[in-house]
Amino acid sequence: MDVGELAKKLAEKYGYHVYMIERYLELFGEEGTIEFLEANEKGLNPVIRCNTLKISVESLRNRLVKKGFVLRKVPWIDYAFQVVKSPFSLGSTTEYLLGYYYVHRGMGSLLPVHALDPKPGEIVIDAAAAPGGKTSQMAQLMKNKGVILAVDISRERMKSLRSNLSRLGVENVIAYRMDARDLPKFGIKADKILLDAPCTGEGLIPIDRSRKKSRLIEDIKYCSTLQFSMLTALLKCLKKGGILVYSTCSIAPEENELVIHRVLERFPLSIEKMDLKDGLPGFTEFFGCKVRDEIREARRFYPHIHGTEGFFICKLRLREELNDNI
């Protein structure tokens, strides 16, 4: 069967746009594509992150196990659990309402902050912050010390951010509803920045099946342009030697490796190795395009290999401070 026919057949069987399957076949081969599509059908266990600002990991685990929850430790992060079985809705327990945990849709969304590794006392920017999962993870690693500038453009999602940060007892946040590309106007230089960029969200298909059909190839191009412009603006808010972690829940190389390649070409940046035990290297060639070799140090996560959402993470260090004219 030729690739076109195979793509059509798989697209019909699993309910995707044909263009998506064609791209998967080119990136992963036939066997890898089928494994990926099958894993997307299975879904993911939700993950709870213990809010160590309010309770110890052990105390929370004991309380939830007593109530009948079956929990499995997340391999790389000692304050999070996959929920294998839950007798009640995760968002209605007393422990949730007391702010003892935050619910993540999958393990992948815990990784960007883990890679960023914010420390107490630092100035950190979360550039696409709502509804507050990553912001509150940062606050707990920073022990509520230092400052997080949390920025998001969505009015509705900002309400969720406020509610989540309150519930979790986060104090060291100043939140702005604005386009993150306007952040350089503040003239603040941060130690660390997280850009978990708006994306097509192909990696979220195990959680949200509507994404099989809701995005067109033009959306990838649109997102890639937006991501590059956000990243460019944010680099101006970073101190010399500062760290920026770029992540998406997309598996499209145009939203990931290509964006990184373009900023590496233009700015004094280097890619840092990450303390992540898992993940596949970033692509250096895709769809007839070759990008810089060091992008291999970025990490890709997949549902069929790592049991996570599809995810991309890259850690950048700024070698020289940029001025506003760049």
């Binding site: 006392g121 230092g146 509610s163 104090e171 702005y176 603040i188």
Partner: protein, 178 residues
């Protein structure tokens, strides 16, 4: 638009007075150590406890843009100071005697926004008076919210019974806070 500014002396006196009633003298000092009281003035007057470092960023950025939110939402001033859920969390360890402890069943009902009946009350703090506001704790002394304790006459038995009317509970995060 909400304008954020430091609290005035008058506002601080109001907050201090309310806190003293909950947790005795010196509570204001304890709670505000390392934090600045900031007022968010829009349609209503909201009170935030803001770490000094965060306040420094506010000072630098507010000429460019006012924030949406900052620090910890501590309550609001609408005539008097009304404490928030997270404000209660902060003061609760100093004000156990102004609270009541409820059973697991009472805890569940209260978090659903319901009142607490006498059967669910396990312990009443020594400073609790009928007709006053009380902090509602679960058996671990975790603050679930705020209630008003009162007596009523049971229609069947004609005996006086205690009830805690729900004023504010953490179930808000489920019902309205998403």
């Amino acid at each position: 638009m909400i304008i954020f500014r430091k609290a005035t002396k008058k506002e601080i006196v109001k907050i201090e007075k309310a806190l003293n009633e909950w947790a005795g003298k010196n509570i204001y000092k304890k709670i505000t150590s390392g934090r600045i009281v900031v007022i968010g003035e829009g349609r209503i007057k909201e009170v935030f406890l803001v770490p000094v470092e965060v306040c420094n960023i506010l000072d630098k950025t507010k000429k460019v843009r006012m924030p949406y939110y900052l620090g910890l939402f501590f309550g609001e001033i609408n005539g008097e100071f009304k404490i928030s859920l997270e404000g209660l969390w902060l003061i609760s360890k100093y004000s156990r005697e102004r609270g009541v402890v409820v059973s697991e069943k009472g805890e569940q009902l209260f978090l659903y926004g319901r009142d607490i009946l006498e059967e669910s009350i396990i312990k009443v703090g020594s400073l609790v008076q009928i007709g006053s506001k009380v902090i509602v704790f679960n058996k671990f002394y975790e603050p679930l919210g705020l209630g008003m304790i009162s007596k009523f006459s049971d229609k069947l038995t004609e005996q006086p019974k205690t009830i805690i009317k729900n004023i504010l509970d953490r179930g808000w995060y489920l019902r309205k806070g998403r």
